[in-house]
C-alpha cells in the first residue's frame, strides 16, 4: 500500500509540470500584449515598459541565459538607468560601472551586461566615478567563480577591494537563481507579480478574499451535502413511488436551468419583490450572515440536483445488495437499515466528492459573487478578467489547478487508507 501511495505522489509531478506549461502557454502566448491591454489607448513607450516590468513580462520567457536588465546606457557621466522598476532604481539615476561578473550585488542590484563583452555592475547613484573604458571582457563570467578581479587599476577596483558590505562574489547559488529568473519559473515557484490594480500580491489577496468566499460556500456546501443525502436515501428507499418520480424530475430540472437565471430570479423575487433578503452587498463580521443567506440558498438550489441523483444511484446499488436484505430479514426496522447500513456504505463516494470539492470552496463562485456583490475570490477573478489584471487571473487559475491536483492526490490516499483493495488494482 505504501508503494502505491509513493507511486501516486510521484505520478502527480508530471501533472503539476503539465499544469504549469498549460497555464503558461495559455497566458504567455496570448494574442494581445497584456501590458498594452492594461495600459489603455496610446501609451508612451516608457509607460509600456514600466507596465511590462511590473507584470514581470520583461523577464525571459523560459530560462534566463543572458543578462536581463537591458535598459542601461552608457553616457559621459556614467550609466543611465532608463527603466528598472523591478530592481528599484529610479529612472535616470546615475550608476557607476566596473568589470564584474553578472550576478547580484547586495541581493538587490543586478550586475548586467550591455553589449557584451563589456560587463558592468550597477550600484547606488553618485557614489562612484566612471572607470576607464578599458574593462576586461569577461563575458563568460560563469567560468570565473570568484567573479571579481577584472580591471584592477580603475576607481571601481577600490570598491572591489573594499566593498563595504556591498559587493560580494557571485556564488553558484545566485547564478542558479539567475538562471531560473524567468516568467516560466516565476509561475512554477508561485512567484506571481503584484496585481496591477490592487498593488498587492496574489497570496495576500487570496488571504483576504478567501474567507469571504468561504463564508458563503462552506455553509452552502454542508447544507447541500446533507440535503442530498437525505433526499437520496429517502428516494432510494421509496423507489418507484410518486415521490421518487417527482424528485427525479426536480433534480433534472435543477440541472437544466442555467445557474445565472436561478440567481437572478431569486434575487429579484426574494430580494426585490418580497424584500426578505438584502439584494446584494456585504458587511464584515457577524452581519455577513444577513447578506450570505440568499447566496447560500441560491447555491444550494443550483448544486443539489447533480449530487442527489448520483447518491440515489449509489444508494440504490447498496439497497439491492445482500447484506441489506439480511438486515431486513432479521427484522431490523427500515429506518435503521437506511441510517446505519446504507448511509455508512455510501460514505465513500460522498467523501470522494467532498475532498475534491473542498479547495474550490475557498475560491468561491465566479458568477454568484458577481451577482450578489460578494467581495470574495470569485468576484476578484471576474474583476481581474474585466480589468486585464493578468497576474491575478493567471495566479488564481494556477493555484486552483494545483490545489485541485493535490486534493485528488489526498483523496486517492485517503481512499487507499479506507479501502486498501484500491492499491492492489
Amino acid at each position: 500500500m505504501w508503494a502505491y501511495i509513493v507511486r501516486r505522489i510521484l505520478l502527480t509531478i508530471p501533472t503539476v509540470l503539465g499544469i504549469v506549461v498549460l497555464t503558461f502557454v495559455l497566458f504567455g502566448l496570448v494574442a494581445t500584449d497584456p501590458a498594452r491591454a492594461y495600459a489603455g489607448k496610446n501609451p508612451s513607450a516608457a509607460t509600456l515598459r514600466a507596465i511590462r516590468a511590473r507584470m514581470g513580462l520583461d523577464k525571459p520567457k523560459w530560462v534566463n541565459l543572458g543578462p536581463t536588465v537591458q535598459s542601461i546606457k552608457v553616457n559621459s557621466k556614467g550609466l543611465r538607468v532608463e527603466t528598472d522598476v523591478r530592481h528599484g532604481l529610479e529612472e535616470g539615476g546615475l550608476v557607476s560601472i566596473s568589470g564584474l561578473t553578472p550576478g547580484y550585488l547586495d541581493g538587490n542590484y543586478k550586475v548586467t551586461a550591455i553589449d557584451a563583452p563589456t560587463i558592468f555592475f550597477v550600484a547606488p547613484p553618485a557614489k562612484f566615478k566612471l572607470p576607464a573604458a578599458t574593462t576586461t571582457p569577461t563575458t563568460e563570467a560563469t567560468t570565473s567563480p570568484s567573479g571579481i578581479g577584472a580591471a584592477p587599476e580603475d576607481d571601481a577596483s577600490e570598491l572591489l577591494k573594499n566593498p563595504g558590505g556591498r559587493v560580494r562574489p557571485v556564488g553558484l547559488g545566485k547564478k542558479i537563481a539567475a538562471f531560473f529568473d524567468s516568467q516560466f519559473f516565476d509561475l512554477l515557484f508561485f512567484r506571481f507579480p503584484k496585481s496591477m490594480r490592487f498593488e498587492e500580491s496574489v497570496w495576500k489577496l487570496i488571504a483576504v478574499k478567501g474567507p469571504v468566499s468561504l463564508t458563503v460556500q462552506l455553509p452552502a456546501f454542508l447544507i447541500t451535502v446533507a440535503l442530498q443525502l437525505v433526499v437520496a436515501l429517502y428516494v432510494a428507499a421509496s423507489r418507484g413511488k410518486a415521490i421518487d418520480y417527482v424528485v427525479t424530475v426536480l433534480t433534472v430540472v435543477t440541472l437544466s436551468v442555467p445557474a445565472i437565471s436561478v440567481y437572478l430570479l431569486l434575487q429579484w423575487w426574494l430580494g426585490a419583490r418580497l424584500e426578505v433578503f438584502p439584494l446584494a452587498g456585504w458587511k464584515p463580521g457577524i452581519y455577513a450572515l444577513q447578506f450570505a443567506a440568499l447566496p447560500i440558498l441560491a447555491t444550494v438550489m443550483v448544486t443539489i440536483g447533480g449530487g442527489a441523483r448520483f447518491y440515489r444511484t449509489v444508494a440504490l446499488d447498496e439497497i439491492n445488495s445482500d447484506y441489506i436484505r439480511t438486515a431486513r430479514a432479521k427484522g431490523a426496522p427500515k429506518r435503521r437499515v437506511l441510517l446505519t447500513h446504507v448511509l455508512r456504505n455510501i460514505m465513500i463516494p460522498v467523501i470522494t466528492n467532498t475532498v475534491t470539492v473542498l479547495p474550490f470552496l475557498v475560491f468561491g463562485a465566479l458568477i454568484l459573487e458577481q451577482i450578489f456583490q460578494i467581495p470574495g475570490l470569485g468576484n476578484l477573478l471576474v474583476q481581474a478578467i474585466f480589468n486585464q489584471d493578468r497576474s491575478i487571473v493567471m495566479g488564481v487559475t494556477y493555484i486552483i489547478s494545483i490545489t485541485y491536483c493535490v486534493a485528488l492526490l489526498v483523496n486517492d490516499i485517503l481512499y487507499t487508507l479506507v479501502d486498501p483493495r484500491v492499491a492492489l488494482k
Binding site: V30, T32, S256, A259, A272, I367, V382, I385, Y404
Partner: protein, 315 residues
C-alpha cells in the same frame, strides 16, 4: 471479410441461410426512445428547437429581431406573435429574439461538439488502441487539462484567442466561444473512449480482424469505432447542455456573445431589468434554455439506458 465468409460457407448453392431476426442495437435504442411517452415528447421538443434554429438560419428573422417599432418594455400579451413574450428596452420583440437565440445555441452546441468529439475520438482511440508511450502522453495531456477547472480553462482560452487574426480577420465572438468550448471539452469523451477501446482491443472480433490481415486504420475505423460510437452519442447530448449553459456564463462574464441576440445575452441584459420588474426577457430565455436542456437530459439518460447501462453513474 466477405471473401472469407463465402470461402468457409458450408451451405450449398441455392440454399438460403436462415436469417436471424435480432433488432440492431441502434434500432432497439430508437424504439426505446419512440415508444416511451416522455422520450417521445422530448424528441418532439428537440425537433421543434432544431426547426426554430433552421428557420433562424434563413434571413426571415433578420428584420424581426432588430425591429424597434414597438414601445419599450411592453408586457407579454396575446395581441400579436411578436408581443407574446413582451419587448425589451429598445422595443424589440423578445419572442423573435428567443427564436433567434435557438440558432446561436444550436450553432455552438453542434460546432463545439464537432471539435470536442473529433479530438476526443481521435485521442481516445489512438491512446487506447496503441497503448505504450502514445497512451502515456495522451493520458498525461487529459490529466493535465482536466486538472484546470473547466470554466476557468474556457475563460483563459477565450482570453488567449481574443485578437488572434485568422486569415487577416479577428475571430468572431461566436467562434471564440465555439473554439474555447470545443478545445476544452474533449477530455471526458477521450477518457471514456480510451477506456472502452482498451477493452475492445483484446476482444475476439478485433483479433479476428487482425488475423485476416486488417490494418490498424481499418480495425479502428470499421471495427472498434462502430462498437464504441454510442459513447459519443450519449456524450453529445450531455455536452450540448453544457455548451448552452456555458455560453450563458461566458456572455455574463463579458467574454461571450454581445452582437447577436443569444440567450446568454438576453439573460445578461435582463439582470438590470429584473430589478425594475421587467421579468419577461429573463424568464423567456431561461425557459427556452431550461426546456431544451431538460429534453436533452432526459434523452441522454434514455439513450444511456438503451445503449449502455453500465455508463450510469459516470458523470
Amino acid at each position: 471479410m466477405s471473401t472469407l465468409s463465402t470461402a468457409i460457407s458450408p451451405l450449398p448453392e441455392g440454399v438460403q441461410a436462415p436469417v436471424e431476426v435480432t433488432p440492431s442495437v441502434w434500432r432497439g435504442a430508437w424504439m426505446h426512445l419512440v415508444q416511451g411517452r416522455l422520450t417521445r415528447i422530448c424528441l418532439a421538443v428537440v425537433a421543434v428547437y432544431v426547426a426554430c434554429g433552421v428557420v433562424s438560419l434563413t434571413p426571415i428573422l433578420e428584420g424581426k429581431i432588430e425591429d424597434i417599432s414597438a414601445d419599450s418594455y411592453v408586457a407579454p400579451n396575446f395581441h400579436s406573435l411578436s408581443g407574446l413574450f413582451g419587448t425589451d428596452i429598445q422595443g424589440r420583440s423578445v419572442f423573435w429574439r428567443v427564436i433567434y437565440g435557438t440558432r446561436i445555441a444550436l450553432e455552438i452546441a453542434v460546432l463545439a461538439s464537432a471539435i470536442a468529439i473529433t479530438l476526443g475520438i481521435f485521442l481516445g482511440i489512438v491512446g487506447g488502441y496503441f497503448g505504450g508511450w502514445i497512451d502515456e502522453i495522451i493520458t498525461w495531456i487529459f490529466t493535465v487539462v482536466s486538472s484546470v477547472p473547466w470554466i476557468l480553462l474556457v475563460l483563459a482560452l477565450v482570453y488567449a484567442l481574443k485578437g488572434v487574426k485568422f486569415f487577416g480577420r479577428p475571430i468572431s465572438e461566436l467562434w471564440l466561444v465555439i473554439l474555447a468550448l470545443g478545445f476544452t471539452d474533449w477530455v471526458g469523451l477521450c477518457r471514456l473512449m480510451r477506456g472502452e477501446v482498451l477493452k475492445h482491443r483484446e476482444r475476439d472480433y478485433v483479433q479476428a480482424a487482425r488475423a485476416v490481415g486488417a490494418g490498424h486504420f481499418r480495425i479502428l475505423l470499421r471495427h472498434i469505432l462502430p462498437n464504441t460510437i454510442h459513447i459519443v452519442i450519449i456524450n453529445f447530448t450531455l455536452g450540448a447542455i453544457a455548451y448552452v449553459q456555458a455560453e450563458v456564463a461566458l456572455t455574463f462574464l463579458g467574454l461571450g456573445i454581445s452582437d447577436k441576440p443569444s440567450w446568454g445575452r438576453m439573460i445578461d441584459d435582463a439582470k438590470l431589468e429584473l430589478l425594475k420588474g421587467v421579468w419577461w426577457q429573463a424568464v423567456a430565455a431561461t425557459v427556452a434554455i431550461g426546456i431544451l436542456c431538460l429534453a436533452l437530459n432526459i434523452l441522454g439518460d434514455a439513450l444511456r439506458d438503451a445503449l449502455d447501462p453500465r455508463l450510469r453513474g459516470i458523470e
